[in-house]
Symmetry: C2
Subunit: 346 residues, 2 copies
């Protein structure tokens, strides 16, 4: 067993999940899968940042409602977002009073949160663990690129940060879907410096993590209904498929990218596709998890990807490192998974 | 057992730790406890941000050297810092190729990282887990307050962000010190809005987490050689002691604050004391862990505190939420700790 991949001994359940969107997301092809659509970009607050916090607050409230649990029933929460100091999360969830561990994985946040929540339940440290994330077009543009008022021209490779949030609750094994295995990614940096081409920066990280998962578990793309990346968009998705082709692995038929699914390319003018923590977060929570619950999908490999970029360091000439974490979610639970074996080290 | 506190079943060991400092930290009372002191604030790079990354790189290199392990022997790494998008960490550790989970807890980062690393080893998910963090006076000032060139006047309650880094490696139980229990904090916000008085913003979070720990474990301050907070400084430390006094608990004799220890108040002009992820990180890794290894201290309760503040949201009128996580580190390992019991929930 590779050090990065962990087979879950107790295959915990994803009890419930919620997806919150903005106006544009509601008008997209997945509009019907959201629990709530906010027509107002401020979400009835006076700043976009406070609005983004509302996305998380709504996501947490909805997932609690849907699960029939109260905040005091949640043992631990993992959350993060794209904003400086992760304030979308801090101010969105502070009133719930849930023990909280902040995470930062850029757009890979939902995969990281689900991974950690699953291991906390699997290991018996928590009975219920929540993961939550969000992103907001207006906060991300002004923080990472230009204020909206500037009216900057968007490049063809640029992606549209989804105004969306997602939350889920992991509990001890009960009903499908189940978390079967996770792979922790490492930072991969092939030197992309274009902040308007994050798909290209993240694709090598997704390739690295997915390859590790396949190698460690002996699984192949055929074992999954879908291999779901977070927000590689058109450019990154093409690169990912090509990287696998070099290894004679065809993932084209199975590959889905949340950034390619959330908007209508013909109608919604999103250039290379959607992006943001909330993109992968809401598409996983709103679209995929319900299908895995009903059994209309049996297995997915969810590998959200993050571009660990910073405007400050980017302006200093640095490249954009990527990271991706993978989670195997299944309609079936395996009663007997092989125990984790490590080779003893010096 | 409260949901926030986890008694570790296998009481993992802290195998090794390293502390890196800047010039001012080297001149302070703990100067001799650092593994390396950087006289140059740029650490031989061309920007302060890249310099901060060097602190993490050095911390990781030193802790690997001291433990006799290679990067490929480390199963997982938890890291974060104060910079936007945690770039101190990303660019400091990207070349090591270690499976990485990014965390954000502001100045509580070392406690969060140690907590997660300990649970990963305790639960059998990793044989070796690393935690790393850093902070840098020059990057923090320009990001959170004013560029240094502006020459802003510092208020009496302001704290001096330590230019420092710390790293540690947790492994399966072997030699002291051992991690015995952890308490995951929740966000506590009593409405402090002064970005120059973070001690006051964080003290209520430390009080909340430490109270939870005492309640959940039945321990009291007398059971510890030291109750170590991260960087409450003069103002926050006074508030913390007063909050406990209301409960008729005296922590004054046992309370140590890394922010009060790292600098000489008379000689080093640091106003209310030190702060930053690297403050608690380096003082824990450089000063406390070696004492717990030798047995000159038997038990400490380490509760680093974080001010989850953001200049953007602060300017929008928001307050500064605090968080604190606690880790009980001991010279003694307990062969039989009570198993974790949760009350069953609806």
């Amino acid at each position: 067993m590779n050090r990065a991949t962990k087979l879950l001994r107790n295959t915990p359940s994803i009890l419930s999940s919620s997806a919150i969107g903005g106006k544009k997301e509601g008008e997209g092809p997945l509009g019907d899968y959201f629990d709530k659509i906010n027509e107002d970009a401020y979400m009835s607050t006076d700043t976009f940042e406070k609005g983004e916090s509302q996305l998380q607050k709504q996501a947490v409230s909805h997932v609690l409602d849907k699960s029939g649990l109260q905040a005091e029933n949640i043992d631990v929460m993992f959350g993060g977002d794209l904003l400086n100091q992760c304030v979308g999360t801090t101010f969105g969830i502070r009133d719930f009073g849930i023990p909280f561990l902040g995470i930062y994985g850029a757009c890979s946040t939902m995969a990281e949160g689900l991974l950690l929540a699953s291991l906390f339940v699997d290991g018996g440290y928590s009975q219920t663990a929540m993961a939550v994330t969000s992103s907001h077009f207006c906060t991300a543009e002004r923080q990472y690129r230009f204020p909206l008022n500037y009216g900057g021209q968007r490049t063809p490779t640029s992606q549209w940060t989804a105004t969306a949030g997602g939350a889920l609750i992991v509990t001890e094994r009960e009903n499908p879907p189940f978390v079967r295995a996770v792979t922790i990614g490492k930072i991969v940096d092939l030197g992309v410096t274009d902040a308007n081409n994050m798909g290209a920066a993240m694709a090598p990280a997704a390739y690295d993590t997915l390859s590790t998962f396949f190698k460690d578990t002996g699984k192949s793309p055929e074992d999954f209904d879908a291999i779901v990346t977070g927000d590689l968009g058109k450019v990154g998705s093409r690169i990912l498929c090509e990287l696998f082709e070099r290894d004679n692995i065809n993932i084209r038929e199975k590959h889905k990218d949340c950034g390619m699914m959330i908007y209508d390319f013909d109608e919604q003018d999103v250039h290379a596709g959607g992006s943001g923590c909330g993109c992968a977060g809401s598409v996983l929570c709103g679209y995929f998890i319900p299908q895995l619950r009903s059994g209309s999908m049996k297995n997915i490999l969810f590998a959200a990807t993050g571009a660990l970029m910073s405007p400050t360091v980017n302006q200093q000439g640095e490249s954009i490192p990527g990271i991706s974490h993978a989670v195997w979610i299944s309609y079936d639970c395996c009663d007997k998974v092989p125990d984790i074996k490590f080779s003893k080290k010096g």
